[in-house]
Subunit: 252 residues, 2 copies
């Protein structure tokens, strides 16, 4: 048995999320089916994070265990061949020790959320960004975001379906910046609650529109109540961009 | 009659090109139909450039003449509403003098060509870039590209269907740069021949692969013969990025 770590890129649009679902196609099922076609083995994919329907990944980190004797590069090429035409690709593959776990060894996760802030509808970025027509004040959003950085009880910013035992998380970074009419929110933490990034982004957008004063974000956090949430941003603007492990030579 | 200048963004994937075609949908037809729905008038769209099936635009410049009394912003919003669900959007609209012509007044056009140079197939960039699996030497491509800059007879890099009277064009810029595994080619000229950018990119890729020495690009140009062409790059990596006019306050 060899443990293979995979770096995976996918367009989340046609999937019901990363995790295997009874109700429809998932990234996990696509990769497990492709790996089965290559090896003849029933494999289980483990991932650094779970992503919702419509959420994308630039470099999700995963692993699977395989009996077949195969080189990592050859395995990734063969899985990629079988993944077609699904919009999922293995961009890197390497062998890891048996105690390396894509989910449990992961010590850092980062996301990017893209908002296209303009009146005109999206064309090339359809399903790739959140289209917000009303002007957003990215500086005010960034200022409000700083009240969420640090260790907090993030109950307000947590899905009703979140399975985490503990709503206390440490948010390392939440930066909002503007490049032309693109507003990008970058979030990093050891781990996130379900819907946390989208909930934070949606609430910051309330500040960006001027509907909420900057201070209201801190008050919503203190409320520890989902009812205090401003808005949950839609999935198509969200990208899982990197996972970090103790044995990484360099950060992704 | 009022002349409205439009800035247009589109995803070229579902279209048979910008120009109206008998064989299938075109960007021109989508916009003309939407403008007709708004004004009740039969309008004709004129564009700075023509683009092939699958080629995209970030900021194509066009114009149309309308009798109806309507504000530019309101016109663009109404056209955008009628364009749905086609991936075409009017990102800017303004009134121009009657002698301003999107095609004939245009004094500069620029394109960008995106190559994703990696082994793994494309996911989020499917239909948005040329996927080249074999390594490309972008520095060698850039060096070879410089032999094409300036005034030349570009017969080698011209489609058999090109309708231009004169194969002599002045290429102002042809820069090749690498950002990670993305190779970007930026081309600017007053005007281009049909297929010129894609022909230049395909030929530079031959140099990038090491199949052609750098000097062979200059020889292909001197041959003035389509048979000397290396390769015509596929349309999905090509973006029309800007058109320039004498009355522009700032360059796009």
């Amino acid at each position: 048995m060899t443990r293979f770590a995979l770096t995976v890129e996918f367009d989340g649009t046609p999937f019901f999320g990363l995790q295997r679902q009874k109700k429809g196609p998932s990234v996990q099922q696509s990769i497990e089916d492709a790996a089965h076609a290559v090896t003849g083995e029933e494999v289980t994919l483990h991932s650094a994070g779970r992503t919702d329907s419509g959420v994308h990944a630039l470099a999700m980190r995963c692993h699977l265990d395989i009996e077949k004797d195969i080189e990592p590069f050859r395995l990734s090429q063969a899985i990629n061949a079988h993944l077609r035409p699904d919009p999922v690709a293995i961009t890197h593959c390497e062998i890891k020790p048996d105690d390396w776990h894509a989910r449990f060894s992961c010590i850092g996760r980062s996301y990017e959320y893209r908002i296209r802030n303009r009146r005109a509808p999206l064309t090339l970025e359809k399903n790739r960004a959140w289209h917000v027509a009303r002007p957003l004040d990215a500086d005010a959003m960034h200022e409000a975001a700083q009240s969420l950085v640090g260790q907090h009880d993030f109950t307000t910013f947590r899905s009703a379906h979140c399975q985490s035992n503990d709503p206390v998380k440490t948010l390392d970074t939440l930066n909002v910046s503007r490049e032309g009419d693109l507003v990008i929110i970058r979030a990093a933490a050891r781990s996130f609650l379900h819907h946390q990034v989208r909930s934070m982004v949606g609430t910051l957008a309330m500040v960006g529109h001027g509907q909420w004063p900057v201070e209201q974000v801190a008050k919503a956090l203190e409320a520890r109540d989902r009812a205090a949430l401003g808005l949950n941003a839609p999935p198509q603007g969200l990208y899982f961009v990197a996972a970090r492990y103790p044995d990484d030579i360099q950060e992704n």
